[in-house]
């Protein structure tokens, strides 16, 4: 059974302007997104800056209210809950942020940071709080004496471990990790990814992993959603990402990613131009301005996200993708 069911989720931010600062338009940050996350699964969300991946993550755990659509967690509709009714779900759904420094209160020691959250949600009895803090600190690989230090005394990798400890001390079921390793050096990134993998098994976590780094997503996730300008344009499993990718945007993303092997040097796939402004998206498919296989129909209608081949769970939103035959022409740019 799916732990999380998202259906036709929309998130719009009003844009103010003019002398009276009236609402003059909307930024459609998340535009009709539907997906499931099964228990124990890690679903990756990839896309370029501004595609709505962080907004999606924050909306799913209700840090931002949804404009439209349904979010079901454990068979409970979240969008209609009151603030008080939402509280138990806040504990179960936690988030890890990209920049661990700005997401930790600089005036609290690690112990105070964790204690505040544990006490608020009454995760363990009052007499066990300190023991719980000790065990979490140990599990995320920090030294016991770290407890009484302030966030600024730690390196980037260690701070991310504190961010992970803060999320996990509430014993959540579901975790949204928003670019958790993007700000870290590769050797530190590897250690944090290993830690997250271990903790996922130990705590039986289900995760949404937001990243722009396809190599990391491919390594860490079971399934991936590719987003472009608020839409999910393709959903596929990570088992065979490169062979399965059908949508021209996905193949372009994969083709633009430099491989760390100088003998496999290739011309990187070059997409022309930039992501269009979300204030003023093109009509029809949002990818038309950069798409190598764009046709007339693409300008008129947004293609639905639908099954494209026999592989279960593989969906793509593209008029040009019918089956394997057409896909090869879309992937031709990859060389």
């Amino acid at each position: 059974m799916a732990l999380l069911e998202v259906r036709d989720l929309h998130k719009r931010f009003p844009k103010h302007g003019g002398v009276l600062n009236r609402v003059v338009g909307n930024v459609h940050a998340v535009n009709g997104v539907s997906f499931d996350v099964n228990e124990g699964e890690v679903v990756g969300i990839v896309g370029e800056s501004g595609c709505g991946k962080s907004t999606l993550g924050k909306t799913v755990i209700q840090l931002l209210g949804a404009t439209e659509g349904s979010i079901k967690f454990d068979d409970q509709e979240l969008t209609s809950l009151s603030h008080a009714e939402m509280m138990p779900f806040r504990r179960k759904m936690q988030m890890i942020f990209q920049d661990p420094y700005s997401s930790l209160n600089p005036r609290l020691t690690v112990r105070q940071l964790l204690r505040e959250a544990i006490r608020f949600h009454k995760v363990v009895g009052a007499d066990q709080v300190e023991a719980h803090i000790d065990s979490i600190i140990e599990k995320v690989g920090l030294r016991p004496d770290s407890k009484d230090k302030f966030p600024h005394e730690f390196s980037g990798g260690q701070r991310q471990r504190i961010g992970i400890a803060r999320a996990l001390c509430l014993k959540p079921k579901f975790l949204v990790a928003d670019e958790p390793v993007s700000a870290l050096d590769v050797s530190i990134q590897a250690a944090v990814l290993n830690l997250m993998m271990d903790l996922k098994d130990e705590f039986g976590l289900t995760m949404m992993f937001i990243s722009h780094d396809l190599k990391v997503v491919e390594h860490f996730c079971d399934r991936v959603l590719v987003m472009y300008l608020g839409h999910v344009v393709e959903e596929l499993t990570c088992d065979n990402l490169h062979a399965d990718a059908r949508h021209p945007y996905t193949t372009a993303l994969l083709g633009a990613n430099p491989i760390d092997d100088p003998t496999q040097r290739r011309s990187l796939t070059i997409l022309k131009g930039d992501v269009p402004s979300p204030y003023n998206p093109p009509p029809g498919c949002p990818f038309t301005t950069r798409c190598p296989v764009v046709k007339d129909r693409c300008h008129q209608e947004m293609p639905p996200l639908e099954d494209k081949d026999a592989t279960p769970g593989h969906r793509a939103a593209c008029w040009e993708v019918e089956g394997a035959g057409v896909a090869s022409s879309a992937a031709a740019g990859e060389g």
Binding site: A190, A191, L193, L214, P258, S267, T269, D274
Partner: protein
């Protein structure tokens, strides 16, 4: 792929040592760094945060704050037969931006937000050339065209905030290249950009290198970028060069345990190892105030022996015939597993 290193290097760095005066005493950020850059080649300077790669490039450009920076007397930065480390500031201004140009990581903060981009492009031309106003404007538009900015006649009168991140970085490249420099120093030019924009910038730099024979010094921590665009690589750790050589050799037969560990810690594309643990490097980079006696990598190295604690190794040719700073450099026998993996991938 690999350029033959015919002729003279355009930039020759020898024993570059840069120290900073700090509240906690003098600290050596770059220690005895030497390398060459030949015309028409891309040299990658690779390492993690704090290894001294940016200080190296800013030392060459003489962009470090004078009051706190000490560039050691034995440092030589030979460019066109002159040691530019010793040039007067007045003479250096003629070199900087004209013969050697630099692009920075953060295109928003390195462009001046209150001037139109045309004015900023014009600045270098005004200072370094004798062209008239009209000619300079034509030249600026031509440069914007060269870096694929659509509609350059219109864009030239816009402000930096009106451009996207990728376009700003292209404007930075246009500014750096408008005097056709012999050397372009690119400090993490694509780190802040999305991969599709990164691909655009990298291919642009590659084609400019071929068209103008510019030598490029590319500073990055992204080994994927290095593999795709560099001809030669210099690996730095804690202020020292620890290994250098042609890019293919560095990736296939790393001699220094740190280089190998760095390569092992990147998730591999192609997904053969999904869900497996990544190789990590234990510990952290030593503080420059508190460097260990002996090899600087010793606390994180899995091959550490007594000799590594007793004395720091010198940079000398290793088993692969390339310079490496290690008492026990890796050879075929020492890392068979790694080699097997890489060979299989290449096949």
């Amino acid at each position: 792929m690999s350029k033959t290193n015919s002729g003279e290097p355009v930039l020759k760095v020898r024993h570059l040592t840069t120290r900073f005066r700090t509240d906690r005493g003098v600290v050596t950020a770059v220690d005895d760094v030497s390398f060459d850059v030949y015309p028409g080649e891309t040299v990658g300077i690779v390492g993690e945060s704090g290894c001294g790669k940016t200080v190296t490039s800013k030392s060459i450009m003489r962009l470090l704050p004078e009051q706190v920076t000490i560039i050691d007397e034995k440092s030589e930065i030979m460019f066109e037969g002159e040691n530019i480390a010793r040039l007067s500031e007045k003479r250096m201004r003629e070199v900087r931006g004209d013969r050697i140009a630099m692009i920075f990581q953060e295109p928003m903060t390195s462009l001046n937000p209150v001037f139109r981009i045309g004015w900023q492009l014009d600045e270098a031309l005004r200072y370094h050339t004798k062209l008239g106003r009209k000619q300079r404007r034509e030249r600026a538009i031509e440069m914007l065209k060269l870096v694929d900015i659509p509609n350059p006649e219109k864009r030239i009168d816009e402000y930096p905030h009106q451009l996207s991140g990728g376009m700003r970085q292209r404007v930075m490249i246009a500014m750096a290249l408008c005097c056709e420099p012999d050397v372009l120093i690119a400090d993490e030019p694509t780190t802040a950009l999305d991969v599709t924009i990164q691909a655009q910038i990298l291919s642009l730099m590659n084609s400019l290198k071929e068209k103008l024979q510019t030598a490029i010094m590319l500073i990055t921590h992204d080994l994927g970028v290095v593999a795709q665009v560099c001809d030669r690589v210099v690996v730095m750790y804690a202020g020292r060069v620890i290994e250098s050589g042609p890019v293919a050799d560095i990736f296939r037969r790393p001699q220094h345990p740190y280089t190998q560990a760095l390569l092992d810690s990147i998730p591999k594309q192609g997904n053969k190892e999904r869900g497996l643990r990544l190789a990590t490097i234990p510990g952290i980079v030593p503080s420059l105030w508190d460097l260990p006696h002996g090899c600087r990598f010793q606390d994180r190295c899995k091959f550490k022996e007594q000799r590594c604690v007793d004395g720091e190794p010198v940079l000398e040719d290793g088993p692969d015939g390339r310079p490496v700073r290690c008492h026990f450099p890796l050879d075929e026998a020492r890392h068979p597993q790694h080699l097997a993996g890489r060979h299989a991938e290449g096949a």
